[in-house]
């Protein structure tokens, strides 16, 4: 029995649910946080989305059938929550999601919780210009070192399509960072 299976057992038993859920939060909080943070870019927003993600996970635990890995399922919830957050935020401001993300990337320079150098800043600005899917794939592959198979489980896309997306994203980023070309 793997550690994930043992944790799932505790989560499915009402008597050990709360303790098990505490363990789950501790085990996955950082990984999910960084995944969300790279989508929403701002710490306060990431904190809100992360908490909502865990609340959703808790409320839907009974619906988890174990057909995918627990962490892939949680990543999917976190991704959906972060993307929904971007949608509602941009709708409230009356701008497109792309414009909103670009706006947030521009603000990174003055963000107290961003201490990247100029290259890291330029990379984030370039990433904000990518289509949503390419941005997600790049972040999960490049920064989070996830395997294509796992990314495929989270995003519900074939491994081949993911490889193509990643390749395209890298090419566009290289072009932007070396020539400053608009993507």
């Amino acid at each position: 029995m793997t550690a994930e299976e043992r944790l799932l057992d505790r989560l499915q038993d009402p008597e050990t649910l709360h303790q098990g859920f505490g363990e789950l939060v501790n085990e996955y909080k950082e990984r999910l946080y960084w995944h969300i943070r790279r989508i929403v870019l701002n710490h306060a927003d990431a904190d809100d989305v992360l908490q909502n993600t865990f609340v959703k996970i808790y409320r839907n635990l009974h619906g988890f059938k174990g057909e995918s890995k627990l962490y892939s399922w949680m990543y999917r919830i976190a991704t959906n929550e972060a993307l929904s957050f971007l949608k509602s935020k941009s709708r409230r401001l009356g701008v497109t999601e792309g414009s909103y993300t670009e706006m947030m990337a521009e603000k990174l320079e003055s963000d107290v919780y961003f201490d990247g150098d100029d290259i890291a800043l330029q990379l984030q600005k370039a990433l904000a210009l990518l289509p949503e899917k390419q941005r997600l794939v790049f972040n999960m592959k490049y920064f989070e070192d996830m395997k294509y198979h796992d990314i495929s489980e989270v995003l519900g896309t074939s491994v081949g399509a993911l490889k193509a997306s990643y390749h395209l994203a890298v090419k566009k980023l290289e072009k932007y960072l070396t020539h400053g070309d608009v993507l």
């Binding site: 859920f21 909080k29 960084w34 865990f54 201490d115 990247g116 150098d117 890291a120 990379l123």
Partner: protein, 181 residues
């Protein structure tokens, strides 16, 4: 002998090189420019330490739901602040710009009864119907005694028993004189 020497490693390293190699690499890594996998994002100190409590507080029954309540709290605070602002601006405006047309007659009446000045409200109209000539006469400092005589003649029944010469000098009457002197 030659064969043995051929297998000898011809390269040399400074003495103690391997002893502190790990420390030097670590130092280099710490000083390396931020590039590659580092994305520059940071979090507040101890953010992850308190996260479990925050999340559990949201999902466990009978605990405070901070994240869900926060927007409601902000909305209520904003509404309360707006209400206070409107109320205070109304009070401020009404204190400085009283619109008498908004007062009902009953309000005057109540005020009058609570703050008596010795005149009946019904009589007040008499004071308000003075025309400009009469008001001018009231506010003129130097009154000629002929004006006073004329007034007394019109308004006093027993004037004929008085001797005008005994009561008025030829000097103009000054309204600033103390009448009791």
């Amino acid at each position: 002998m030659r064969k043995k020497d051929a297998h000898k490693n011809p390269f040399q390293v400074p003495s103690g090189y391997f002893d502190n190699l790990e420390a030097r690499i670590e130092k280099q890594l710490n000083n390396a420019p931020t590039f590659g996998k580092s994305d520059g994002f940071g979090v507040p100190n101890d953010y992850f330490d308190g996260l479990e409590k925050k999340v559990l507080a949201q999902v466990l029954p009978n605990t405070k739901n901070e994240s869900k309540l926060r927007p409601l709290y902000y909305a209520l605070s904003a509404a309360a602040a707006l209400a206070l602002l409107l109320l205070s601006s109304q009070l401020f405006n009404s204190a400085n710009e009283i619109d008498y047309t908004d007062l009902a007659f009953s309000d005057y009446e109540t005020y009058w009864n609570e703050n008596p000045i010795g005149i009946e409200l019904d009589e007040f109209d008499d004071y308000l119907t003075l025309d400009d000539t009469e008001l001018d006469a009231l506010y003129t400092n130097d009154l000629d005694h002929s004006i006073i005589l004329e007034y007394l003649e019109e308004n006093t029944n027993g004037f004929e028993v008085l001797e005008a010469s005994e009561n008025f000098s030829e000097q103009p009457f000054n309204s600033d004189h103390n009448l009791e002197q």
